[in-house]
């Protein structure tokens, strides 16, 4: 899939260290944002581990799946309703969870470390997304911004149960409390979705350092008016910092480029041959 992207991370105005990590690989078509937590520098360790372990294992399993005689090891249950690549992605995330969890158990200074993770893999004409925690993925299509992920946070649970409104959630003092994260328990449930790709889609992967500082309609405005991915990531980080920049800010913007007629034609010929 023809994709352009820009990825940036910024420590913000208040923090002294950046606990966010990101991963991008055009060939692998995999993009990840992770937002770590925990004392000392264990948040950084957790988010970096999440990116490295997930991407490495995903790459390995894709390589293996191309060889017919290779044995595939899936971590956790296979979901028949989603594509093979998406299953590999989820398996890689589960493995990362286990490794981070064991690292946190092994060293007292790492105790309580964990991380959020959002990952996007594009393949054929689809995006596979997977997430744990309160980092988010948005889709900008037909001039509208749409959140694809659902936060694993206490306030989101309260909203779902109808106990508080979305507006109350914005003000809640429990905003920091996650109900799911990578590395905080032995096993983790990874949420996932598959979405058909359209030409000129924008996708935004980000940590809560952006979404707590910049409301959705502001993000939407930037996407509407910007010329390219680079400009969007720069502007979004600027906005988050102008609004206070209380946390680390990480933003990946992807844009699906339209393929011209001849490319499409050649592809379809290649498929039939």
């Amino acid at each position: 899939m023809a994709i352009e992207f820009s990825a940036k991370t910024d420590v913000g105005n208040v923090r002294t260290n950046n606990e966010d990590s990101l991963f991008t690989d055009r060939e692998l078509e995999l993009y990840i944002v992770a937002d770590g937590m925990g004392g000392h520098n264990s948040g950084e360790v957790a988010s970096r581990m999440a990116c490295e372990i997930t991407s490495k294992n995903f790459k390995d399993s894709l390589t293996r799946s191309k060889k017919s005689d290779a044995t595939q090891v899936m971590y956790g249950e296979n979901n028949p309703n989603i594509s093979q690549a998406a299953n590999h992605l989820i398996s890689a995330i589960r493995l990362a969870n286990r490794v981070i969890y064991e690292a946190s158990q092994g060293y007292s200074q790492n105790q309580g470390m964990g991380t959020t993770l959002v990952a996007l893999h594009s393949e054929d004409n689809h995006y596979h997304i997977a997430w744990v925690g309160d980092s988010r993925i948005y889709l900008f299509r037909h001039g509208h911004l749409q959140q694809l992920t659902v936060d694993h946070s206490l306030v989101q649970e309260q909203v779902d149960k109808g106990l508080i409104s979305s507006a109350d959630a914005e003000q809640s003092e429990f905003k920091n409390i996650l109900t799911r994260a990578l590395g905080t328990s032995e096993d983790v449930k990874v949420d996932t979705a598959e979405i058909e790709a359209f030409d000129d889609d924008y996708l935004l992967l980000c940590s809560d350092g952006l979404t707590r500082m910049v409301p959705d309609d502001k993000i939407s405005e930037i996407l509407k008016s910007a010329e390219n991915c680079e400009e969007i990531t720069t502007k979004l980080i600027e906005l988050a910092k102008e609004a206070g920049g209380r946390d680390n800010i990480t933003v990946i913007i992807l844009q699906k480029k339209s393929e011209n007629f001849w490319k499409k034609f050649l592809k379809s010929v290649a498929k039939t041959v």
């Binding site: 937590m37 299509r141 749409q146 206490l154 649970e157 106990l163 003092e173 920091n176 409390i177 209380r246």
Partner: protein, 240 residues
């Protein structure tokens, strides 16, 4: 200025700046920090400032006040001291004190936590919060579109996908026919508890006889019209 972090188990509930002293802590509403829990006495403890030092004093509480797991009557506070009151912990955070102290004096196991820091609920805390936040036994609801005028390949569509398109095109899950029907007329997107309709082709879909532009949240019983087909939107309990 030092601050106090009120925690319940691992979860930080509140950050309180120590703007003025004394700061009183207890169950009754006239305290500066109210902890509504039976393990906490009406007037449980008090923090005062003596010179440059902040001091916590137990007000003869029933269950006692503990600083770093030691029962105290009164005690000077250092950066990152943990004050245990009932099941709640108050962490005393004073960055200034930290500068003067060698690293070794910091409490060995406890990590510095600031209120902006994200925390994950332990399963115990989750159970407690769930018990507190028990809603009226809600079942998971899912949106349905029932065809009430016109004919399509199905009479009813369950909106289980994140994005459902209505149109003539290949990517539309709900296909409408007709020479002039657009490839994609409308998009219905699923959020945790609601659905939104987006007019992909401006002015094409109608909602309750009004032209939709932009994005609107759907309500149970709404009628959506796209190219001569009418759908009734309903929220139903999800089938097992």
């Amino acid at each position: 200025m030092p601050k106090l972090l009120l925690k319940f188990h691992a979860a930080v509930i509140k950050e309180i700046p120590a703007e003025k002293t004394p700061i009183t802590i207890g169950r009754k509403p006239d305290n500066d920090i109210v902890i509504d829990n039976m393990a906490v006495s009406g007037h449980h403890a008090k923090i005062t400032q003596q010179g440059a030092t902040y001091v916590i004093e137990d007000l003869q509480s029933t269950n006692g006040t503990f600083v770093n797991d030691k029962k105290i009557i009164n005690s000077g506070l250092k950066n990152n001291d943990n004050i245990l009151i009932g099941q709640h912990t108050i962490v005393f955070v004073d960055p200034k004190a930290e500068q003067n102290q060698p690293e070794a004096q910091a409490p060995a196991q406890k990590q510095p936590i600031d209120s902006e820091a994200t925390v994950v609920m332990s399963s115990k805390a989750k159970a407690a919060a769930a018990a507190e936040a028990q809603g009226p036994g809600k079942k998971e609801m899912i949106g349905n579109l029932k065809v009430i005028e016109g004919k399509l390949d199905q009479n009813e569509y369950v909106l289980s996908g994140l994005l459902t398109y209505i149109g003539k095109g290949e990517s539309a899950a709900i296909k409408i026919k007709g020479m002039f029907a657009p490839d994609i007329a409308a998009l219905i997107s699923r959020r945790p508890t609601s659905y939104l309709i987006t007019a992909v082709k401006e002015g094409y879909p109608k909602l309750n006889n009004n032209t939709v532009s932009g994005q609107i949240e759907l309500k149970d019983g709404d009628v959506i019209e796209v190219g001569g087909i009418k759908f009734l939107f309903q929220m139903k309990e999800k089938a097992e």
